[in-house]
């Protein structure tokens, strides 16, 4: 497993569904859960609904095309 750039061996007995490329929650040498990407994205839906995320929107959207 990679922690940023540090590589460590982790016991997967408690995360049998984890696959290569997954992110997992690790505690004292054990993977305790696979991080669910869909659930991870949900907070951004909530924030967008609040329509207050203007700074973030600007940062993540491509600049609008300038008509020639």
């Amino acid at each position: 497993m990679l922690f940023g750039t540090i590589e460590k061996t982790i016991n997967l007995a408690y995360a049998p569904d984890a696959e290569v490329g997954d992110h997992v929650l690790v505690h004292v040498g054990f993977a305790l859960q696979r991080i669910d990407p869909e659930e991870a994205a949900r907070i951004w839906d909530i924030l967008r609904e609040m329509e207050e995320l203007q700074d973030l929107e600007v940062a993540t959207q491509a600049p609008p095309e300038v008509p020639a």
Partner: protein, 365 residues
């Protein structure tokens, strides 16, 4: 890192804080249970983003802080035995018992080693068959599956020179105790996300219905914490008291079945002493009789650890949320990380350590 950096996004944090300010109409007191959350709140200044009416108090979810002084004394006594290698998580070493700490025992010649995982201690026992390797097995539900696996592998592998000095506690009974304590002002909980990743949410849901307080399972990054606080305040403002999962990317409602199965096969629920809080019924785990051979307390005939032992430290009040760390008369003066009066000032998850590290010592009077 993915799933971490984006949860530290300042724009998102400020948007959540603005929404919180918009919906908060009166004073509320919330408790974040886990010491890791306390440190994140102080580190990122989350408490300073909140509307003035909103107060966060800091809970007992610091495993090192709640390990009784009497058990630390037993660990120190074990470390002084020439045949013993005492293995512990790092932040336990400077926590004072009544007769010194593990770092002093190490300085005096005891073989004390810091390990990252209980399995590292087990591997050490296999490499050193002539020594007795004792792992100081402290922690909450999050750590119990790892400690259970170490005991299980020692048993199935026939490792005779490995044992556990157990101080496993359960967060649910402590939350229950806090709500029953006279003087407690807690109106809503941010429950510890990592513990819930193991246990699931069922017990938390019962707690929330029993006491009619909102409980929001919450993560550890700034956006997670503000989202948890927002959901909790929204419930309070609307008169609801429900279990909400704001850390669903890591917490499934049913928890982690293989981890729970292993924990239950090795440990049973027992009464436990919590440092600063006293003995709480059915609030901890002890090794089942099947695993008695791996119980360091039995192997070394340690007997029951004497209770109490903190005349000067008010950590109990801090962990109940009735005393803010920087309101303690000893904070930053007689009690500092270099010479702590109690555990919350030294542990990496202790509330007093968080205030000292991120807010500094109080101005001299």
């Amino acid at each position: 890192m993915k799933f971490i950096d984006e949860y530290r996004n300042p724009a998102a944090a400020h948007a959540l804080a603005a929404e919180l300010a918009r919906i908060t109409t009166r004073p509320w007191t919330l408790m974040e249970v886990c010491g890791g959350q306390t440190h994140a709140i102080l580190r990122y200044g989350i408490d300073r983003l909140l509307p003035p009416a909103l107060r966060l108090v800091h809970g007992p979810g610091c495993p090192v802080c709640v390990t009784p002084a009497g058990l630390i004394d037993q660990a120190v006594a074990l470390a002084r035995r020439p045949e013993v290698i005492l293995c512990s998580f790092g932040d336990m070493l400077r926590v004072p018992g009544r007769q010194g700490d593990l770092l002093h025992a190490k300085a005096a010649g005891g073989d004390v080693r810091i390990v990252y995982s209980p399995l590292d201690a087990l591997a050490l026992a296999r490499r050193e068959p002539a020594r007795e390797v004792v792992f100081f097995a402290i922690g909450f539900e999050t750590t119990a599956p790892a400690n259970a696996m170490a005991a299980h592998q020692a048993k199935t592998g026939g490792v005779k020179n490995f044992s556990l000095l157990v101080s496993q506690v359960l967060v649910g009974p402590a939350m229950d105790f806090i709500l029953r304590s006279p003087g407690s002002e807690v109106q809503g909980f941010l429950a510890a996300g990592h513990a819930a990743a193991v246990t699931g949410v069922e017990e938390l849901e019962k707690l929330c219905h029993r006491h009619h307080v909102p409980v929001v399972v919450t993560g550890f990054e700034p956006v997670d914490l503000l989202d948890g606080i927002l959901r909790c305040v929204r419930q309070l403002e609307q008169g609801r008291a429900e279990l909400e999962n704001a850390y669903a990317r890591a917490v499934r409602p049913e928890g982690n079945a293989p981890a729970l199965t292993m924990t239950r096969s090795v440990f049973e629920v027992i009464d436990r002493e919590w440092r600063g809080l006293g003995v709480l019924p059915a609030s901890g785990l002890g090794l089942r009789p099947d695993y008695a051979d791996f119980d360091a307390a039995l192997r070394f005939k340690l007997g029951a650890a004497p209770s109490g032992g903190d005349e000067e430290c008010q950590g109990g009040q801090v962990m109940l949320g009735t005393l803010r760390p920087d309101q303690c008369p000893a904070f930053g003066g007689r009690c500092k990380p270099e010479h702590p009066l109690g555990a919350p000032m030294v542990s990496s998850e202790g509330a007093c350590a968080a205030y000292f590290r991120f807010r500094g010592a109080p101005e001299p009077q």
